[in-house]
Structure formats: C-alpha cells, structure tokens
Amino acid sequence: MFYEKLKAPLEAMLFVCADPLPVEQIAEILEVDTENVAALIAELQKDLNRDGCGLMIKKIANSYQMCTKPEMASYLEKLTAITDKKLSAPAMETLSIIAFKQPITKQEIENIRGVRADSIINKLLERELIQELGRKKVVGRPIMYGTTNTFLKCFGLADLNQLPSLPF
C-alpha cells in the first residue's frame, strides 16, 4: 500500500488521543480517504493482535480508540489498588465498636470514643469493611453502620456469630 508508512503516525495519533478519534479527522490529518483509514486501521489491528502486545483498537460509532486488551485487566487493576499493611489503632477501635454494637450510628460511635468519627468511617467504607444498614428511626434519621462480608473474610470469620461474646 502506498500509505503503509502512515501506520506509525496513525498509531501515535490513537495513542495520544484519549478520546475516540473520528475517521474524518484521521483522514484529514493523514491526507488520505476515509476508506484508506479503515484499511490502515485493519493493518494496525493485525500488528497489535500478535501475542507480545497488550493493546488493541476499538471502533466506537465512526471513531477509533486505542485501549488495552481485556486480558490485561488483572494487571492493570493492581496499578490503582492499595492494600493497607495494617489498620491504624483508631480505625481498629472504631471497627471493633461497629462489629460488636452493630447496627450503630456515627453519633453513637462518637459517644463511645469521644472523638469525631467521620474520616475513619469513610476510610472503613472505602475499604469495604463496613457498610450502611439503612437509617435509624429516630430524629434526624441517622445512617446505621454494620460490617460486611469483606470484614468477615479479613478476620477469618464464617459469620458474625463467631465474634467473641461481650463480657458485659
């Protein structure tokens, strides 16, 4: 193909452009017809299909977008995942209050610990150790919190009955 040498620029364009790139725009920049763009994309797609390559081209409506192959997902998830090495003492205390006293409201937690609990509750929610359990039927209808299945898994419990019973 006379336009074979345009494959590299096309790849670079698709790489740089985070949004889908319309065929017309590609054709204009590469100074070819839109049919040629389709052929070029097919060529590029073929290159990317080979085993050692983690990228592919997606067609969306009349546009093309470069993205990663679906098989790469498990690696890419790790790029944004944060695993806490341990929970801070205040977080652990708050979690224990929720575990043993659930369902419990933020106000009730704060009454027990004597300090504000907002940021710790958010942190525990983010880590999926606690969840909202509806609202308490009192004035203000505050949210009640309880533990999650992730919580059980993290502490090696089959269910909440396996929590030690309270001594008082």
């Binding site: 695993t83 806490d84 090495k85 341990k86 652990m92 205390e93 004597g114 999926e128 090696g156």
Partner: protein, 245 residues
Amino acid sequence: MSLEYKVHLKAFEGPLDLLLHLIEKNKIDIYDIPVAVLTEQYLTYLNQFREFNIEIASEFLLMAAELLQIKSRIMLPERQHEAEDQQEDDPRQELVERLLEYRRFKEISNVLDEMAAVQEKIFYRESSLGPVRYLPPQNLDMKMLWQAFQNVMEGQLANEPIKKVTRDKFSVQDKMLIILKLLKDKEQNTLPFTEAFSDDSNRMEMIVTFLAMLELIKLQRISIKQNYSFSPIYIFLRNDEENVL
C-alpha cells in the same frame, strides 16, 4: 531610529551579557581584554539606553563602576618595588573569570535548548487509570479486633464518673492551703511553678494542684509571672490584702 534597534538594546539580560556581546563583536581576546576600549564601548551602550528612555537596571551601573575601577588600577603607575616577590594580580582577573563562567552557561544553555526541542517532538498520553481502589487490608486477626474493643471499653469506663479511691484523696481546698503555705515559707514569697507539684504526685494530684492554683488566681491570692516565652514560670503571693480563706 527603528523599533528593532530598541528591542535589540533591551535584549541584553545583564551587564555580563552586554560585555560578552561587545567582546564577541570586537573579536576581543577574552584573556587579554583592553579594558579602556571595552569600558568606553560599554558606557556608550548605557548612554544609548538612556537616549531611548530605557530604564537602566542597577546591575549595569554597578558593572560600569567596576570597569572604571579596573581601568584606573591598570593605569596607576606600577607600585614601588616594596614587595618585589609578590606578583601583582592582574586587575582584570576576576572579571575575566566571571565572564568565562557566564559564557560557559550561555553555551550549555544552548545545548539544553536543543535537547528540549527534541523532547518537544515527543507526545504523551493522558492517564486512563481508574480511581484508586482499596483492597481489603491484610494481616488482620480477631485478637486485634478484640483488643481494640477492650481498649475502647476501658477508655469509656475511665470516662465515666465512677468512684475511684484516688479521687477524694486530694481536694482543691486542701491544695489551695498547701500552695499558700509553700509560698509563705519561701523567700520573697515566690515559688517556681514546677515546685508547686510534688515529685511523686500522680496525674490526679497534679490536676487538683493546678485547679487550686487557678482558684487562687481567681481569688487574687497569687499571681503568675513569666518573663518571656518558655522561660520559667513563677508563682508569687499577692500581699494587697490579708488572707481570707
């Protein structure tokens, strides 16, 4: 005069820049600068600045003064041979070194400029990473949870007003009398703040002592003085009135 000329004048970043320009223009050997010639040309430029109403930065004037000084030092007759061994330093030495160093960085900045131009041809992507996710924490066990809960419960018990033996051991009233007695026994009725607390006092006793002090201040029986931040604090007895307790 054309506008370009004006711009050209303005283009000199500083006195060293202007001097280098003159040196290059006149093909002067930087290691053997004819200071008189250079100074004259430099001053001519400054005058041109003035003609165009370009504000002359103080650095340019400072350099003019330095040049004139070097020129005068060169023109002075050679000193009497009082210290014959000591080779007189060339008065131009320091200026030459400054010019050489400045020229080095001017040259290297051109190289960096070219390097940057190459990099400008390289394009990057915007990140398409998703938001940060938190995986379940590791290394958790029941013991930690249980321990944390007990800590909470103990903390809560301590907060509750339950009768504790130590509580009645010290009363604010008693402590007030003790502090007053301490002060009266002291010279000038003055006591360093820290000495009001006995060494073996526990937290509760310290708190009671402190409350007693506050009470005495309120009753205007004692005063507190500190000369400046973090200097020792002194308590002293106020004598404006005989005590009534």
